[in-house]
């Protein structure tokens, strides 16, 4: 089962994302900022690494950009795609997300099915993708 780390300082958003992604059939964990997320990556079990990070941008202590930059600095560690989810719908945030190395950028609040669709494509989960796409088309 794919493992996803949800990183967001807002408890409501964390709950929301974990609910949506959990309903799609994935295992989720959470971190309240970039620093905590990095710790979790550092301590992840070798046989069960995270397969995807769903990351907010604006967070205390370490924001989303810094987290991705730090994460990508490791070559040895397992590198999973990062999906940035943020309310900052402005283009400079998209650029900054790309610059930091985030693989995908979604605007919050993302429609649940769009979020799941993007996640399933990044995870390579075809069944979930079909289900989510059907949801979008409903």
């Amino acid at each position: 089962m794919s493992r996803i780390l949800v990183v967001d300082d807002a408890a409501t958003v964390r709950m929301y994302h974990r609910k949506i992604l959990g309903d799609a059939g994935w295992q989720t964990e959470e971190a309240i900022n970039g620093l905590e997320a990095l710790e979790k990556v550092h301590n992840q079990p070798a046989d069960q690494p995270f397969d995807l990070f769903v990351v907010d941008i604006n967070m205390p202590k370490m924001d989303g950009y810094a987290f991705v930059r730090e994460l990508r600095r490791y070559t040895a560690a397992h590198q999973a795609p990062v999906m940035m989810v943020s309310t900052e719908a402005q283009r400079q945030d998209t650029f900054a997300a790309w610059e930091a190395g985030a693989n995908c950028y979604l605007v919050k609040p993302a429609r649940p099915q769009e979020l799941v669709l993007a996640a399933s494509l990044l995870l390579g989960d075809a069944q979930a993708a079909v289900k989510a796409a059907e949801g979008v088309k409903q």
Binding site: V13, F95, V107, S120, L122, A129
Partner: protein, 810 residues
């Protein structure tokens, strides 16, 4: 999803945020320069806003969003913190607290809250105006939101951006583009050429281009004062790509580009107001139309729509990866993460049997550098042109007749399990690719003789030149064999077209009350697939003509002393590199007198000229456009689109039609077709110091004609060749070259005799050069309007040869 649980969480966190924000607000008021506190305050409001967005709490979100924008401005120092701002924020917080209470009680926000929310957010937004804080805070609602452009895009104010005049000036039909599309205008700066920019290329390569037009920034100056090195071009277009992609595309010339999202058009705004996403790669493409149109669709259509959506999103994420990899010096982990993303995207496509190239997966694993990954991703970018993976796999063909519609070459002789005669089904585009490659190879190898010549003349390396020539001979032989082998793969028996004739003849003859027997010979003769496919329609037309006009009714035939049953023969055979197809009937033949009359009656030729034509020549008149001799217009043939259509179709594939008819005995039509259309043999000629190519199959002969043997009648020049008068035209005149035709030392002109339909015309040129094989590339873009040229070809020495089309030229 358990909505109450989430709602409880929302209320809990909202109260927490409000409480902390209230504290911070008071602290900041005491100490406005405390950046740390301000940031905290901003984040509280930001979190609150984000949470509101998860629910349909519009009234609340509007106010919180306005507060966030205001705080953002204070935080980054463009706005000074003061009492007025604090008052407005506190009032907004009170309102928020009330709303949260209401949500806790009823689970929603009553509509009555909307006006107050509007008023509050207007008041907050009015404060965004620098200087507004000193005057009364009750500023008018319609005050333009922001001095900074990025704030304008983030503004949730319902009043849309005004439509700029240049958007209004775009062609009206562009407005029918999807509402998610973006209009852009690019006005390159005058000095751009000196910076090595290529504005046209940049405009052409805009991602997701739907429409593009070019114009000028200012009216063109008078020719005498025009500075052609200064750019006066302007481009405008519509793109379906998210606006962030466009910004990325134009990142080196941002000040020269303007964007306008079509969703802001008054007539589109309503449709998209529910989707206020700005510049988000993944969301922007999701229009409400895209979502809405499937409500009534059938399950099949739905499934298709789902697959399309997945494909679209995959492509968007694919492009994202390319952009990330394209940033300067990406972190080492980025490559790994992108590679994993690509791998997973491919995996999904394959699972769903969406188009994907097979080698993509296997070659991905070994890639370790950014450059290699980028070029991999560009090569294997998913495209609907790729064959679907499952159809691409090797399978034993299950017999079945091969029709021209069946794009794959399979064997009728392959029986299941026979083992010794296995057939491989291969996508046609793979064969086409091979064909293209060998075409390029043929051209590339032609560079070797030039090289040998240079080695000898420039570097005095005779030995090396000899060796190059020897090697050229080897490569030439292999290339020719290879070309032949690949052409063989594309070959199809003409019988695939003949198959349908039996039924056609039977049905039509019955309808006409005629008794006709069809004899087919040589159906195993092979020709290139494209030639065969182009042949079907002309052949059917000829057959219908024969049935309709050629074969007489049984009683007429009996009276003429012929057997009652008429015969139509279709015979195919190959002679050197051409395929001949002959359709002959033993019918009435073409009546030359009637053809002459008709041609004159229809004004196709003048009466006096018609009278001078021999019978054999008169018969050829039926190839003229708009000719039809049918007494009554039947539904089979004789609609006035007779033989000229046949001739055009055949000539399009470099073939010829030849018609012979004996009155009372019958008609014979002979089609001469090339085996293949990929490589064209041309002869190179020279006129006015320029070289041109002429397709070999049009050339009848090359002769030397003494100037004294050229007869002048007014403007026209003719000469007599083998007892026939041949009109002469100077290629120099036809191409409007300044020079006049040269003669050699003996005073002879070089004359290239070409066949134009059934007539021969001599072209005066300066010199003949050798013949060569070329890959004919049609003229494109601006040049496509040029008549007189069939296309261009790249020569072995790197030069470009213009290929003449004598039919258009003369």
């Amino acid at each position: 999803m358990n909505q109450t649980e989430l709602l409880d969480q929302f209320i809990l966190e909202a109260r927490d945020c409000l409480e902390q924000a209230g504290q911070r607000l008071l602290e900041v008021e005491k100490n406005p320069d405390d950046k740390e506190r301000l940031n905290d305050l901003f984040r509280m409001v930001h979190t609150l806003k984000g949470n509101c967005g998860l629910f349909e709490f519009k009234a609340l979100e509007t106010v919180v969003h306005a507060g966030e924008d205001l705080l953002d401005r204070v935080r980054n120092g463009t706005l000074g913190y003061n009492d007025v701002i604090a008052d407005a924020l506190l009032e907004a917080m009170d309102f928020t607290a009330q709303m949260v209470d209401e949500i806790e009680k009823t689970g929603q926000i009553a509509v009555e809250a909307a006006p107050r929310s509007q008023a509050l957010s207007s008041r907050l937004r009015a404060l965004l105006e620098p200087g507004a804080t000193v005057s009364t805070p009750r500023a008018p609602v319609s005050a333009p939101a922001a001095p900074l452009p990025e704030a304008a895009t983030a503004s949730p104010l319902p009043s849309p951006e005004p439509v700029p005049p240049w958007v209004d000036a775009l062609p009206p039909d562009w407005r029918s583009s999807p509402s998610t599309a973006v209009a852009w205008r690019y006005s390159p700066e005058p000095e751009c050429f000196f910076k090595g920019e290529d504005p046209w290329l940049l405009a052409r390569q805009v991602p997701g281009l739907l429409h593009l037009k070019s114009g000028t920034q200012a009216p063109w100056a008078d020719l005498s004062t025009l500075d052609c090195y200064r750019c006066n071009l302007a481009f405008a277009g519509i793109s379906s790509a998210p606006v962030a992609y466009l910004h990325e595309h134009f990142r080196y010339v941002p000040e020269q580009v303007e964007f306008f999202e079509l969703s802001n058009l008054p007539d589109k705004a309503a449709a998209t107001s529910m989707q206020a996403t700005v510049g988000s790669p993944a969301n922007a493409a999701m229009s409400s139309a895209e979502v809405a149109d499937t409500a009534t669709a059938s399950p099949d259509e739905r499934a298709q729509a789902v697959r399309e959506l997945i494909f679209l999103r995959t492509l968007q994420i694919w492009e994202d990866q390319l952009i990330i990899l394209g940033r300067p010096s990406p972190q080492p982990g980025v490559i790994q993460a992108c590679r994993l993303a690509f791998k997973n995207l491919l995996h999904t496509l394959q699972e769903l049997e969406l188009p994907v190239s097979l080698q993509a997966q296997s070659s991905l694993a070994a890639i370790n550098s950014v450059g290699a990954l980028v070029s991999w991703a560009q090569t294997h970018r998913p495209s609907l042109d790729h064959p679907v993976a499952s159809a691409d796999t090797v399978s034993a063909a299950g017999g079945g007749p091969l029709t021209p519609d069946n794009s794959r070459r399979g064997g009728g002789g392959a029986d299941d399990g026979a083992g010794h005669n296995k057939v491989l089904k291969v996508g046609q585009e793979k064969i086409d690719r091979l064909m293209d490659l060998i075409g390029e190879m043929v051209v590339a190898k032609n560079a070797l003789p030039y090289l040998a010549q240079r080695a000898e003349s420039v570097f005095q390396q005779r030995e090396l030149a000899r060796e190059i020539k020897a090697q050229y001979a080897v490569i030439n032989r292999i290339a020719e064999d290879m070309q032949h082998a690949i052409m063989q793969v594309r070959m199809m028996p003409v019988g695939t077209v003949f198959q349908r004739f039996g039924r056609l003849v039977r049905d039509i003859s019955k309808k006409l009350g005629k008794d006709v027997q069809l004899v087919v010979e040589g159906e195993d003769t092979e020709a290139d697939k494209n030639v065969i496919e182009a042949l079907a329609d002309p052949l059917i037309h000829i057959l219908r003509n024969s049935l309709d006009h050629g074969i007489e009714l049984p009683e007429v035939r009996r009276a003429a002393g012929k057997p009652e049953q008429g015969t139509i023969k279709v015979v195919a055979h190959q002679e050197s590199d051409r395929v001949f197809i002959e359709i002959s009937d033993d019918g009435a033949g073409v009546n030359p007198t009637r053809v002459r009359d008709k041609a004159v009656e229809r004004g196709l030729i003048p009466a006096d000229k018609a009278a001078t034509l021999s019978d054999a020549e008169a018969v050829q008149l039926i190839f003229l456009p708009g000719f039809s001799t049918a007494e009554s217009i039947s539904d089979l043939s004789g609609r006035g689109v007779g033989m000229d259509v046949v001739r055009t179709a055949v000539e399009r594939i470099n073939g010829h039609v030849d018609l012979q008819s004996t009155q009372g005995k019958g008609t014979r039509i002979r089609l001469s077709l090339p085996l293949s259309m990929a490589v064209t043999n041309v002869m190179i000629i020279e006129a006015g110091n320029r070289r041109f190519g002429v397709p070999m199959d049009l050339i009848v002969e090359t002769v030397r004609v003494h100037a004294d043997d050229i007869h002048h009648f007014k403007q026209a020049r003719t000469t007599v060749l083998r007892g026939r008068i041949v009109p002469l035209r100077a290629l120099h005149d036809l191409l409007a070259l300044d020079e006049s035709p040269l003669t050699n030392e003996d005073g002879e002109h070089a004359v290239l005799v070409v066949r134009l339909g059934s007539e021969n015309v001599g072209l005066l040129v300066d010199h003949f050069h050798g013949a060569t094989d070329i890959i004919l590339k049609p003229l494109e873009g601006v040049l496509s309007g040029l008549t007189g040229f069939a296309g261009t070809a790249l020569m072995g020495d790197g030069g470009v040869l213009m290929i003449l089309n004598p039919k258009e030229l003369v």
